[in-house]
């Protein structure tokens, strides 16, 4: 599909080096300076600017790498996906405004959706025509989805949905919600869970934005009051859809935002460059304790890149990745959160007479410090990841039997 649209996209058969060179050149040439977080010309891009940028990346063959050609993707392997992600990470570009669609809803629909649903939803996600939000967490059911209460009741060819979701990222802009409900009662625990693709303009849906500590309004409470959707909105049968989603999620935990290790590297360079641009901050870099901490971060980034590449190699070899995605997620989130603290300490020395780059870095890394609080919470908290490692990787027994 892409190949017909854009003849500049290299043939994957030419090898990863060719694709890497293409991705690097295209991204470097097309990313506007005002969207580069390490540029003095930076200003917070609007949602439409971010959408247009991601749509142009898709047109250039730099998104949907592993999605089937029949559904708008390039039909390539994780190898090319990794190659592109390294180059995406190497530039200080905005985070995706459609990560729920591209990294969660899309892969789940590919696994459990009907062909009609795939044709309807997938190309529009990649081309940035539809945003999605994730309706899993509830006030009383976050990591423990056995306590999920939002209920779906069949009514002829439709389903009536009642309940409440929370921490729903991007709900205000989303066209669809990947909604998890239950068909029975809470006593059923993990049985009877059912997923839907619910249009957010369906009557009965109310979105209440929540302001987060980074000052943004990026997530919300979403109320479902007698929301009626057709049976065609259902993703898989009860249990089937959710069980497949669990499998997808374990893979996604290992493969989503694959660029993070390389972006981490990029951020460290931005921080050091900003310090070197300013006489006062530059002197801090002569301090042995800062040198030591920067050296430690370099070692952590190397190990993180190793974990990501190891995952890709194993998956390319056909190995089951199982719970190992938790290792990458946990290592990244804790190391990156600690780095945000280091960055804050350095940019705290910025004053009105500091260099323009240092002033830019202060804004960027102060926001990053606050946003980093979320990194050990979302996509499974640190404690959940530790539980997974203990239970599923180390097989540590909980009783004597």
């Amino acid at each position: 599909m892409h190949m017909e649209k854009n003849p500049a996209i290299p043939d994957a058969a030419a090898g990863p080096a060719v694709y890497r060179q293409y991705a690097r050149q295209w991204l470097g040439a097309h990313l506007p300076a005002h969207m580069r977080a390490d540029s003095v010309d930076y200003r917070t891009p609007t949602l439409d600017e971010c959408r247009d940028w991601e749509a142009s990346m898709y047109e250039a063959g730099l998104a949907g790498m592993t999605w089937p050609k029949a559904h708008g993707g390039l039909g390539l392997t994780l190898r090319e996906h990794l190659v592109v992600n390294k180059e995406v990470g190497a530039l200080a570009m905005p985070e995706s405004v459609s990560s729920i669609g591209k990294e969660l809803a899309g892969p789940i629909i590919q696994t459990v959706g009907t062909e009609e649903q795939k044709q309807l939803f997938l190309p529009r996600i990649l081309s940035m025509r539809d945003y999605w939000c994730q309706g899993f967490s509830e006030p009383d059911a976050g990591s423990d989805l056995a306590r999920l209460r939002t209920k779906a009741v069949p009514e002829g060819d439709s389903w009536r949905i009642n309940g409440q979701k929370i921490w729903t990222s991007g709900a205000a802009k989303a066209r669809y919600c990947l909604l998890l409900t239950r068909t029975g009662s809470v006593a059923d625990k993990h049985r009877g869970l059912l997923m839907f693709a619910v249009p957010m303009d369906t009557p009965g849906i109310r979105v209440v934005p929540i302001k987060s500590i980074d000052g943004k309004v990026s997530f919300a409470e979403v109320f479902f009051d007698n929301v009626v959707v057709p049976d065609s909105a259902r993703l898989g049968a009860p249990d089937e859809g959710w069980n497949a989603a669990i499998r997808v999620l374990s893979i996604e935990r290992a493969t989503n935002r694959m660029y993070r290790a390389w972006r981490f590297d990029c951020e460290l360079r931005q921080l050091v460059a900003a310090c070197k641009s300013d006489p006062q901050l530059s002197r801090l870099l002569d301090d042995g304790s800062y040198q030591r901490r920067i050296g430690d971060v370099v070692g952590e980034i190397d190990a993180l890149k190793g974990l990501v590449e190891q995952t890709v190699n194993r998956m390319m070899a056909g190995d089951r990745i199982g719970a190992r995605g938790s290792l990458t997620k946990l290592y990244w989130s804790e190391c990156h959160q600690a780095f945000a603290g280091l960055a804050l300490a350095l940019v705290s020395h910025v004053n009105p007479r500091s260099s323009a780059l240092a002033q830019r870095a202060r804004k960027h890394f102060t926001t990053a410090y606050f946003y980093a609080r979320a990194e050990t919470i979302y996509a499974g908290t640190t404690e959940v990841q530790l539980d997974i490692i203990a239970q599923r990787i180390m097989n540590l027994p909980k009783d004597l039997t």
Partner: protein, 320 residues
Amino acid sequence: MSISDNDLQPEEFAQAAAEAIQDAQTRDFRGAAQVLARAGLCGVCALEDAGGLALGIEFALPIVAEAGKLRLHWPLLENLLIAKALGDSPLATELASGERVATWALQGSLQDAFAGHVRHARDCDWVLVADGRGGGALLDLRTVEIQDDEALDPEHPQSWLMLDGAKVLAELDAATFAALQRDSHILIAGFVNGAAEAALATTAGYMSTRVQFERPLSAKQAVRHLLARMRLLQEASSAGIQRVLDTDEYGKLRDSRPVLANALGNAAFVLEKSIHLHGGMGFTWEVPLHYALREVRKFDAAFGAGALASQVGRDFIQTV
């Protein structure tokens, strides 16, 4: 160990290496040399003309990882690296065959007439030291004054060497010595990570069977989470070590020092917590975890106890 299959994978070396190392641990120093050499471990990277297997450093990595796991007190990684660096010299043949054993001074230089952080100096024949001009020099240990430093390990002390009048047996040029140093970083990282992996396995096993209040200690969340953190760091080290074996996206060698610094820190954490989780028993001489911790701390001290990470930081700052 015989190499008859060109498709042999590095990880397949681990089991054969473990058997040879366990055999070597039942023998005296010279007997161990013979066992390890016969198994091909001493010459795994040495040229075939020198009696070696001429394999890459990736094949030595699982061998030294097993040495770390099994707490081998023998300078295997030093010996196999020096045998590699000596090329087709007859000296390399002597090392690969187990006839002679060499070790390495990780600090000091011939120019300073002083070197240190040498493992097993009193048992070895030769020692490699920096020459102070970028290269290396292999010295006859009989011509060197040895002073043991028992602070970190009284049973297997590191040694300081006074090099006045030392006899030079061979010289390594700067390029060869630099390549050898890079290889040593990777193998030392592999060795200490192997030590951490074994300690973690021992500790997880103990926590799974040690009962308190009618449940295994591994049932307690604080214990489970600490063990999971230990596993995370050990896996992160492994991933970094494997990655540094490959060239980067542009065919250039990757810097081995960040990986070593990370592995040293992670291994020390895992071993310290392994001792902690064993309770009072972990504090005793009989539980052998302290041997592994001493070995990790000896290497850490040899690289300046944090100085390596600081140097990595300084170099990174320079590249920006």
